[in-house]
Symmetry: C2
Subunit: 328 residues, 2 copies
Amino acid sequence: MTDDVARPGVHIRAIGSFFAGGRIATLSGQPKRQIQVARHGPQREVDLNGDYVTGQSYVQFVHHVAPRFDAPVMFWHGGAMTGAMWEATPDGRPGWQSYFLNAGFDTYVCDAMERGRASWSPYPDIYATAPIHRTLNEAWSMFRIGEADGYATDPAQRKPFPGSLFPLDGFDDLGAQFVPRWTEHGHETLDAYYEALRRTGPVWLIAHSQGGNLALEAAARHPEFFRGVVAVEPASAPPDPGDANRVPHLIVWCDNIDKAPAWVAYRQSVDAYADKLVALGGNVHLLDLPALGIHGNSHVPMMDANSDVVAGEVLAWVESVVATKAAG
Amino acid sequence: MTDDVARPGVHIRAIGSFFAGGRIATLSGQPKRQIQVARHGPQREVDLNGDYVTGQSYVQFVHHVAPRFDAPVMFWHGGAMTGAMWEATPDGRPGWQSYFLNAGFDTYVCDAMERGRASWSPYPDIYATAPIHRTLNEAWSMFRIGEADGYATDPAQRKPFPGSLFPLDGFDDLGAQFVPRWTEHGHETLDAYYEALRRTGPVWLIAHSQGGNLALEAAARHPEFFRGVVAVEPASAPPDPGDANRVPHLIVWCDNIDKAPAWVAYRQSVDAYADKLVALGGNVHLLDLPALGIHGNSHVPMMDANSDVVAGEVLAWVESVVATKAAG
């Protein structure tokens, strides 16, 4: 396993997690049942009536003994994913969490409301609707590994884009981390993240896809929570930049967007938003990888073969913002 | 936040995660829909037909630069819970993951199939049935914080057992980490854990409640995976000890079992199993906390006010097994 954070290691003071936000919801009218809950055990009564905690986010922290930066990095995952996406690449290399830990940041890796360890609530009783699930087929085209008709169940038959940097042997491991999601929970998801941010204090936020979409909105509503926002391939932008001009933004785009109509539409939304932000005097930097001559990145550059190169570009931007602020 | 792993810190070489086990399941016959998936974004087609990875476990690792022990500690959570239960207590103290990291073990914290970051699959299409959910009400009595009628939605009205060591202010934070579960997946859950163990090599397994039940079965079927098994309040035992006499066992029991009929039944099952194991020449140690004069522990001693004291008892047992083996 090539899992080194760093050759010299990282000296940590604390590792742990907490839950933030959410509320109590009460369920009634469910029939009581006798169920064998424990394998090989006797039946016991199961009663789904009562109080549930719903709407919370989950936040995992690693704190250095001596961080090099005075604000931590927080990570928000994309749609149908969890914080696991930042921990390792699907082919077992260190993820961006390790990269930024190694660079000297304290880190916070989040699971949004209803995803991963943040849990989800009974539907249609507490949540109104059923979730949607992501197939490997959809991920193949939406994550721009290849054309939609390039996916096959048999790995040997899959046809990626020429020059794709996604680690193809890990594609099914990418699929192992997909979680169901509800499409109408954006507002509550943000509320739970805001509660997490009230607890952590200001952060450098690195957010992917749906998380990038939420990050743009969060910076517009609550600029006080952010030293800067890195939106990696954000899936659309909010209509109103609000006070986002107070927050430095880095927006990262990868290869083959023109081959995926959904991404053409999402990027149009974000480009228009960035224009508004610039018109308001905002500090918006575009990291358009193909325009820089970096080709072959998928929608998940933190998993691609050059994941450390892209992380290095993000780190360089953070350091430039820190330097500009220090000089100002 | 009192989140110190340790005053001097821990020097880590690697932090990350992987998925283990599972298989591809294919769904067909679902209607395609146009949905606004991205907040503020345009609609796109969502097609639930296709391939899913199902049945996998999730494993998070922290590796020391220089571990003090030659085998790591692996943690299996209980029913309706995830690996988060080992990361912190509900009142924000360091969890048993930190305790054993600090003692010098590499750690693996797992989420079982269908729980937390291991994700879950569409039902009734891939999973046959709906899950069950855990209420705060049920947790109050099943986790032996107090009698069933001592629970109230209003924290001020709750009546715990006299002398309870559970951090009552954190009870709703405990509820925040409950996840839905299916009751018929024990076999597949174990298969995914076995795949994780094939990757990690032999471990000291610390397992709670339902996880303890699975741990006893795993030690009986695959003794080669374990240096020792610590079952904290296991919810029943398998019928057949198999080759478990090759694995040292520590079984931990807490207070007020006589006040919870489900736990009286579960413990009877485990006591009978332990007797069988001893008759086969097995090495079974009972850590009966009230019998040792340690009163007030709930079903989740890793969260109680004396969590480090109980962890210390577990560590002392591990060290005694290591010492005996070295002497032999």
